[in-house]
Amino acid sequence: MDTKKKMLSRGGNSRSAFVSVLAALLCILIGLVFGYLVLLAINAEHAWTDGFVRILKGGFYDAPYGVGRTLANAAPLIMTGLSVAFAFKTGLFNIGAAGQYTLGAYGALYCAIVLHLPWYVGLLASAILGGLWGAIPGLFKAYLNINEVITSIMFNWIGLYLVNEIVYGNGTGVMYDSRNTRTWNLRRLEGAEGSIIPDFGLNNMFQTNSTTIAIFLAIVVAIVIWIVLDKTTFGYELKAVGLNKNAARYAGINEKKNLVLSMVIAGALAGFGAGLYYLSGVSEWNPLNSTTLPAMGFNGISVALLASSNPIGTIFSALFISHITVGGSFLSTRYYPTEVADLISGIIIYLCAFSMLFRGKIAKLLSGGKRADKTGKKED
């Protein structure tokens, strides 16, 4: 709760933005040091060139292919990051991005594989389904005062099993390619050509087959969300509800409506992210293996934290996290087990969650501890 408050109290002025960026960079640095220590512990001899440097280089280690992959992975990450950040602004912790992402994936894939609809319709469907999945915890929160964290965690799993069940359909689901034990590959599926997000030559440029304009769409959405939050009466209401529900109510703002709307939008953003990912053909949905929730949803939390819930900041933090994740996958398997890549990116992402802590400390250092004098005076 306290962290949430701190998260929200981030003011819009440039100094606090500076503090946020500084804190994020500090976290990344510490995360990298820890990562390096892990590499040292596993195989000290190759830790630098075959380990650490590859992670740092990220996609650039195998440019342009790697860079293409970084961009393709960053697009959905921006969206789930936005989803979490948006809910944060309204005082909600959307831990359900994974579930909303799952539903979004289903919506997108159904439109592509079964209905052969154009990609933008698929994206719309993924946003709608994600929004629907976000609405449920929102309604529970607004009208029954049930903590959104609990409901959205439950709906993560309900969503996952539901989607897996429908997709798999005992091995006979229409979207299920039993030979690959995944949904049909869009690029090989006849009639689904128009369902793939166009790449305008990006695939050629990066020598990949899944780098589409998704990244630009995500950036545009991030900017739109920033405008909504910062410039509109709707954003004013949302933030007022998030910062002080009681004062918002006092001011005549319908706080229940705003809570639900906020969760709907957060859900739609996460769902849209899944649409960007699957309609770019980065990979297929695996209903058998997916007994764990999509990591994209949870990494969205790190993205949002690292960006201090700033929509523009999520673009950069998502790019960074995507960068080191891809870098991790280039670790030499000769010296390091494949899991080490996940471990190290995990450490860094984990450290990102501490950025809030650092932000407090840095702000205190810069301002010379103004907070302390306030508490001293207040009790008078």
Partner: protein, 511 residues
């Protein structure tokens, strides 16, 4: 000449980065005196007491106990030196009995087994000796605020404290209870105990204190003998200029009925019973009607019902001839109801919003401040700058200041500016001066009277009897959710109001 000081705080300087909360402050407490500590909000009273209590370590200065220098590193040290404190907000365990609360932390035991009988004997003896009536077996949650305070006092006595600090002890008491407390304090004095009495109520200082140390903006102004001073001089020392203690106001000229409340019930958030029962009254244009009463007698809930924060379960509210019993908060606000809320942090402000955003809290959606859903930030800034200028709201960076960083008085001024500037037909002002210093109170009182004179209806809810007597044109006393009496401030007395507030008397219906 060596005087018999029991505690001396000499040249205390406590700095927080960027500000000196205490700047070379000296306070000398004689044995067996009642010593008042007077100062506005932010004058450094709490910081000074925190230093004495070991919560803060001063950068400079020293503390002497009976002439010997002592180090007070934490509240346990303070306790060991015989310093006890009754905090403004009591620190009691609600679900424990009175006796359990008193012995909590210093439970007498033999081999780990409680020896309550022994404790009870001591508590009863103390209670007898000082006239502190308590029921040792009652649960704290069941007893009155006045008795809770006596429990706090007994806690200090049980620990054999010789130096007793009272932090704004009278804020929650009825006039009768205040008199009683003063009597108890005099009793302590007779027993040779020394009392530090933190307050901003000048008449209480005059009534009970021997000497008074005055602080202003973290600095020591002086110490004076109460016998040789008066309220005007004290307030001048505190504020640094002359202050009008009485509100100048002409007789009221009530006009048409603006607010008509008939048989209203409002549910309670904690009990099954309604917090407000069958309340009926009217407020006319150009008059100030005050709802007086002790905290927790339904005033808060009534205002919630009136302003739409809570549902009204029975009765009707008519506002300017329109039934608004079930109208939304926004509708009420649109039809001309302004509300200065009781809790400025909970309801009045979005603390992490800038001042300008707070200034348009109910108006951001009006065409003046938005077009096509986009906030016209330049207009908001312009409006906010005007209010700041006109109502003298002081803050670090003007319109862009985060409300949280402002002082309580200026936060309140901002709310009052916002609510008055909406040009309401009815101004509901709940505890508008709570916790504010004399200068700010004076200002706010003048604003409220000015609203009345401009033909607005004003409903004032206040716990401060001085404020009630000073401002209102009519007084309604609430007790346990009902209006138990209506009074004319010119013909009633504080004592009479007190009897009604405590439930000892009740006027018949239909008078």
């Amino acid at each position: 000449m060596a005087e018999d000081y029991v505690i001396e705080m000499l040249h205390i300087t406590k700095e927080f980065p960027g500000i000196k909360a205490n700047d070379d402050i000296t306070l000398q407490l004689r044995k067996g005196e009642v010593h008042a500590l007077l100062g506005e909000n932010g004058a450094g009273k709490s910081t000074l007491m925190s230093v004495l209590f070991g919560l803060y370590q001063p950068e400079q200065g020293k503390i002497l106990k009976s002439g010997k220098e002592v180090q007070i590193r934490n509240p346990n040290d303070a306790n060991a030196l015989g310093i006890g404190m009754v905090h403004q907000h009591f620190k009691l365990v609600e679900c424990f009995t009175v006796l359990d609360n008193i012995i909590l932390g210093v439970e007498p035991n033999k081999l780990g087994f409680l020896q309550k009988a022994e404790a009870r004997k001591k508590v009863m003896a103390l209670s007898e000796k000082y006239g502190l009536r308590v029921d040792p077996d009652a649960l704290v949650s069941d007893i009155s605020v006045g008795m809770q305070q006596r429990v706090e006092i007994l806690k200090m006595l049980y620990r054999d404290n010789e130096i007793l600090i009272f932090d704004e002890p009278t804020a929650v008491l009825t006039p009768q209870e205040i008199d009683e407390l003063m009597e108890i304090m005099r009793g302590f004095k007779k027993e040779g105990k020394s009392i530090l009495f933190i307050t901003h109520k000048l008449n209480e200082i005059m009534a009970v204190a021997d000497r008074c140390t005055v602080l202003r903006k973290g600095k020591y102004v002086g110490v004076t003998d109460i016998a040789n001073t008066n309220q005007e001089e004290l307030s001048r020392m505190m504020v640094g200029r002359d202050v009008q203690l009485q509100v100048d106001k002409a007789p009221a000229h009530p006009g048409e009925v603006i607010l008509d409340v008939q048989g209203v019930n409002v549910p309670s958030s904690t009990h099954k019973k309604s917090a407000v029962r069958d309340v009926s009254f009217q407020v006319r244009a150009g008059e100030i009607v005050c709802l007086a009463g002790i905290e927790g007698n339904g005033q808060t809930e009534f205002v919630y019902g009136l302003t739409g924060l809570e549902k009204v379960t029975k009765g009707t509210i008519t506002f300017c001839g329109k039934d608004i019993t079930h109208a939304s908060i926004r509708e009420r606000s649109k039809s001309g109801m302004s509300h200065i809320p009781e809790d400025r942090h909970k309801h009045g402000l979005v603390l992490d919003y800038s001042l300008e955003n707070n200034m348009v809290l109910q108006r951001y959606w009006q065409p003046e401040f938005q077009s096509h859903g986009f906030i016209r930030k330049d207009k908001v800034r312009e409006y906010s700058d005007r209010l700041i200028e006109q109502y003298d709201v002081r803050s670090g960076q003007g319109s862009v200041t985060i409300a949280r960083s402002m002082s309580g008085g200026n936060q309140q001024k901002a709310i009052i500016a916002r609510e008055i500037d909406r040009d309401p037909k009815l101004l509901v002002a709940v505890q508008p001066t709570r916790g504010l210093d004399v200068g700010a109170i004076e200002y706010i009182h003048r604003q409220i009277v000015a609203q009345r004179d401009a033909g607005k209806a004003v409903l004032l809810v206040s716990l401060e009897l001085d404020e009630v007597m000073n401002l209102s044109d009519r007084i309604l006393v609430m007790y346990e959710g009902e209006v138990v009496g209506e009074f004319d401030p010119k013909t009633t007395t504080v004592q009479e109001l007190g009897l009604y507030m405590a439930g000892a008397r009740k006027q018949g219906k239909g008078e």
